[in-house]
């Protein structure tokens, strides 16, 4: 479990079917506060489907989702967003017609709809500036998000999620499109966010990622899916040594 023993986001027995296909079959997952939880699996394993169930974009035919002690199973995406679940997308979903700064401002305002005057405005400025500094977005604050390269776009998406002051941050393949240097920088930022370095609250991160080196480096706990089923859950070392994972996902070769 988490260092403080708390599961911020907990999914129990999640099942999803697309026609006759079992996309997810009674999957359990816990995301703890103050740590990064990895979710890996081969293509088609059901990772993004689980992500969509957790963020409310997809309904499960069975199972429950809890945020802290609240049962949020039937909640809409925007209710979950307001409750503190933020996410990024495998395919960039930026507000392309707006500047980078406005992307972040809009995210903060969405999460704090009634705090737009007086102190609210000051708080907004402070938080947006803080996130931009953390992610190094200051130099491109005025540029249109639609004109950015993928790497910067990923950072804007992450910044936008952080500006909602989430309890749980869900990142869907955040390193795709990043080069080695950018990925390393991204890993540093992730660790900083989780260790409360961004000045916000202690949050939990759920990371879906194909870059095994990144997953093994930053995650404390990893859940492995295959054909919609959870086949393993444990520390990176345990996952490396798990026979089922090696057979289903990693083959016989060891990870880096």
């Amino acid at each position: 479990m988490a260092p403080d023993g708390t599961a911020l986001l907990s999914a129990q027995g999640i099942s999803v079917r697309f026609g006759g296909l079992h996309a997810l079959d009674e999957v359990d997952l816990d995301v703890g506060a103050g740590r990064i939880t990895g979710l890996i699996g081969p293509n088609g394993a059901g990772k993004t489907t689980l992500f969509n169930v957790l963020s409310g974009l997809l309904s499960a035919v069975a199972g429950t989702v809890h945020l802290g002690d609240k049962n949020i199973t039937g909640w809409s995406p925007h209710h979950r967003g307001r409750a503190g679940i933020a996410r990024t997308f495998q395919r960039l979903e930026l507000f392309t017609g707006m500047s980078v700064e406005d992307n972040l401002v809009a995210a903060w305002e969405s999460a704090h709809p009634w705090a737009i005057l007086g102190r609210g405005r000051q708080e907004r400025r402070r938080r947006v500036a803080q996130v931009m500094e953390l992610l190094g977005l200051g130099g491109i604050a005025g540029r249109k998000a639609g004109e950015l390269p993928t790497g910067s776009g990923r950072m804007v998406e992450l910044g936008r999620a952080l500006c909602t002051d989430p309890h749980v941050l869900m990142l869907d393949e955040p390193s795709s499109g990043l080069d080695i240097g950018e990925t390393r920088h991204f890993a540093d930022i992730l660790r900083q966010i989780v260790s409360n370095g961004d000045g916000g609250q202690r949050l939990g991160v759920l990371l879906v990622e194909h870059d095994m080196a990144l997953v093994m480096e930053v995650c404390e706990v990893i859940t492995v899916l295959d054909f919609g089923r959870r086949i393993a859950c444990g520390t990176p070392a345990e996952i490396r040594g798990d026979a089922a994972v090696r057979a289903a996902y990693l083959g016989e070769t060891d990870v880096a």
């Binding site: 925007h78 979903e93 930026l94 507000f95 707006m98 969405s110 999620a161 909602t164």
Partner: protein
């Protein structure tokens, strides 16, 4: 009993024509991803060409019909293909607006060439009848049904059992992949446009002997083919074929219920009611084919200008100053103009006011609407009924109209929650046409052909009877609405609308309630459009349903998109465009203006942000050319420093 059989025969005849139209619509949509709103207009234009050849130039049908079907229609099809080829992969809204512009183009072209008066021509198939049991069937009815059956089976065979069909299916599935295995996607699309255009020509010619040939009339009838096409989810030929026949028979039988009064009006709007019903019921199952659903580029006035050196605050200050200066100028203008010109300015101010709603709705929130003039009509008719003989209850009547329009806006907003892009455009078109046929045609509401009278208002003891005072009222209302919209564009609400447009998916996960946002946006825009309607009514004074027909909503959308839909200045330019015709005192000017705007909108693929953005770009380019170049000595200084920098870096 024989009456029912006769009605069924008539229904099969009408349904056959709808069926031909629906097959053409489905074919182009499947292969190109473009829903051709101009389909009815092409049918109308081809009917006029046939009428010109056959009835006016007395060329025998054996020559004029093949000339139409094998030359004119294919050429139109090829032109469409050439026009839409560069738009592939762009936003879903661009083909929608471009086809709407083409609709306006063909209507105005036909009006310019052949005039707007009704024409009649002989059927290409004999209209005499033969007995089938106890009832009479027209040869034209049977012939049309046979043409549909042959066309349907022919199309089915072509797509199922020919090399062209295999290539078409490959292109529909994945055009890029098809190209890599040697299938020419452009050829397939070109063929689809040609076949669809031939079907449109047949629809036009077959319809024209049963309908009076006027540009608008035929477009509307041919547009009814949209209903079976949507029933077929724009993909299934058999459903389009069968659905069209079913719809034709259903509405033929319903004419037995009543041929007069509001029931008849309701029946005449039947295809549009059914279209709306299909769209609502099918809802999320309807997918847009082969095109991106991302909106056109751009943003609010602030966001659009974000590449410039000026800060957002200075840009806002400049825009606010320009707005205040324009307002002062607008208030002073009547001093230099005569009464009739002031009236024209009033017309322009009201159009600008209505256009603001479309800038907010379409430009900022990314929600397309083809029914803004329906809300205008609600506001105008409310004044006629509630403001009283001396306009003393103008404010109360305006508020009542705004309330009704707001409720209607909520209904349209609720539809927008389920639909987007093309299907939202179709739904709002259906709403506009339902109001045109079923509500505004009701004598008790609109006064019918003669219309009703909207008296000039008296507000808090102040009379706005004179042209100048009414103009001042309109300019003040426009100024307030523009100022509020400007403030909104720079704040949280403006940003919320933009994120709704750019990525509803991301917005929802950030905590934005999309349903509430859409409902409120549609309701508020409807309320303001209704306010514009109240002023429009008292400006025109005598209003009829013709003042609020869907064509005006279409013209409004084209003007706004042409002007640059993301900017509030586009609303002002729309007002200016609306004033061109009355100032020119020449009806044909309107036709040419519409043609010009339509041609301009067709160029959207290159400049999606509209003419204002294009003008700014060009002005900046010109200024940058005129700006003095840096002194040559500075270049030398830089060059001289470079080796040192490299050296020190090393």
């Amino acid at each position: 009993m024989s009456l029912y059989w006769s009605l069924i025969a008539i229904g099969l005849f009408t349904g056959s024509i709808y069926g031909l139209g629906a097959l053409g619509l489905v074919l182009t949509y499947k292969t190109t991803g473009v829903f051709n709103f101009a389909y009815g207009a092409v049918a109308m234009f081809c009917a006029y060409v046939y009428w010109q050849l056959h009835d006016k130039s007395h060329i025998t049908a054996w020559i004029s019909l093949p000339l139409l079907v094998l030359v004119v229609a294919p050429v139109i099809g090829l032109l469409f293909e050439a026009l839409f080829r560069p738009l592939a992969g762009l936003s879903a809204e661009i083909p929608i607006v471009v086809t709407l512009a083409l609709l306006a183009f063909f209507v105005q072209a036909a009006t310019s060439i052949w005039g707007g008066q009704a024409q009649y021509f002989q059927s290409i198939i004999p209209t005499s009848t033969f007995r089938l049991g106890s009832f009479h069937v027209g040869y034209d009815q049977l012939g049309t049904l046979i043409i549909l059956i042959i066309s349907g089976i022919g199309l089915w065979w072509l797509l199922r059992h020919s090399r062209f069909g295999t290539a078409t299916r490959a292109v529909v599935d994945n055009g890029d992949l098809a190209s890599m295995i040697g299938v020419s996607a452009p050829s397939v699309r070109r063929s689809a446009w040609v076949v669809s255009s031939i079907f449109a020509a047949l629809v036009g010619v077959l319809l024209s002997h049963s309908q009076t040939l006027t540009p608008n009339n035929l477009v509307l009838v041919a547009l009814a083919a949209t209903t079976p096409a949507v029933l077929a989810r724009l993909t299934s030929f058999p459903w389009a074929f069968g659905g069209a026949l079913g719809i034709g028979v259903l509405f033929s039988l319903l004419t037995k219920v009543s041929t007069t009064g509001w029931v008849a009006n309701l029946i005449s709007s039947g295809p549009w009611l059914l279209l709306l019903l299909f769209l609502i019921v099918l809802g999320s199952q309807l997918k847009e084919a082969g095109i991106s659903v991302r909106p056109m580029g751009g943003g609010t006035s602030a966001a659009v200008a974000s590449g410039s050196e000026a800060t957002p605050r200075s840009r806002a200050q400049r825009a606010a100053l320009a707005g205040v200066a324009a307002f002062v100028l607008a208030v002073l203008l009547p001093t230099f103009l005569n009464g009739s010109d002031v009236g024209n300015l009033t017309d322009g101010a009201i159009w600008a006011l209505i256009a603001v709603t479309l800038v907010v709705l379409t430009g900022w929130a990314g929600q397309i609407s083809l029914c803004q003039f329906t809300f205008v009509g609600v506001g105008s008719f409310a004044i006629g009924h509630l403001a009283g003989a001396h306009g003393g209850n103008f404010v109360a009547a305006t508020l009542a109209g705004m309330g009704i329009a707001g409720a209607l806006g909520l209904v349209v907003g609720a539809i927008a929650v389920r639909l987007k892009g093309l299907y939202l455009a179709l739904a709002t078109l259906a709403v506009a046409l339902i109001f045109d046929f079923a509500i505004f045609e009701t004598v008790g509401i609109s006064g019918g052909i003669t219309g009703i009278f909207d008296h000039r208002p008296h507000i808090a003891g102040v009379s706005f009877v004179s042209t100048t005072s009414l103009y001042e009222l309109c300019v003040c209302v426009l100024g307030v609405v523009l100022a509020v919209a400007f403030l909104i564009s720079r704040g949280p609400v403006g940003r919320r609308l933009l994120i709704l447009r750019d990525s509803p998916l991301a917005a929802s996960t950030l905590g934005v309630n999309l349903t509430v946002t859409k409902l409120v946006t549609f309701a508020l825009c409807s309320v303001v459009a209704s306010l514009g309607g109240a002023l429009y009514g008292v400006y025109l004074q005598s209003i009829t349903p013709l003042n609020f027909q869907f064509q005006w909503s279409l013209a409004l959308l084209l003007y706004v998109v042409f002007a640059g839909r993301t900017r509030l200045s586009a609303a002002v330019l729309t007002g200016a465009l609306a004033m061109v015709q009355p100032f020119a005192h020449n009806p044909t000017v309107f036709a040419y203006l519409q043609l010009g705007v339509a041609v301009g909108v067709v160029g959207l693929g290159r400049v999606p942000e509209g003419t204002i953005a294009l003008s700014i770009q060009e002005a900046k380019r010109t200024l940058s050319v005129m700006r003095p170049r840096p002194r040559r000595s500075l270049d030398f200084e830089v060059m001289a420093r470079r080796p040192l920098e490299v050296h020190s870096g090393a």
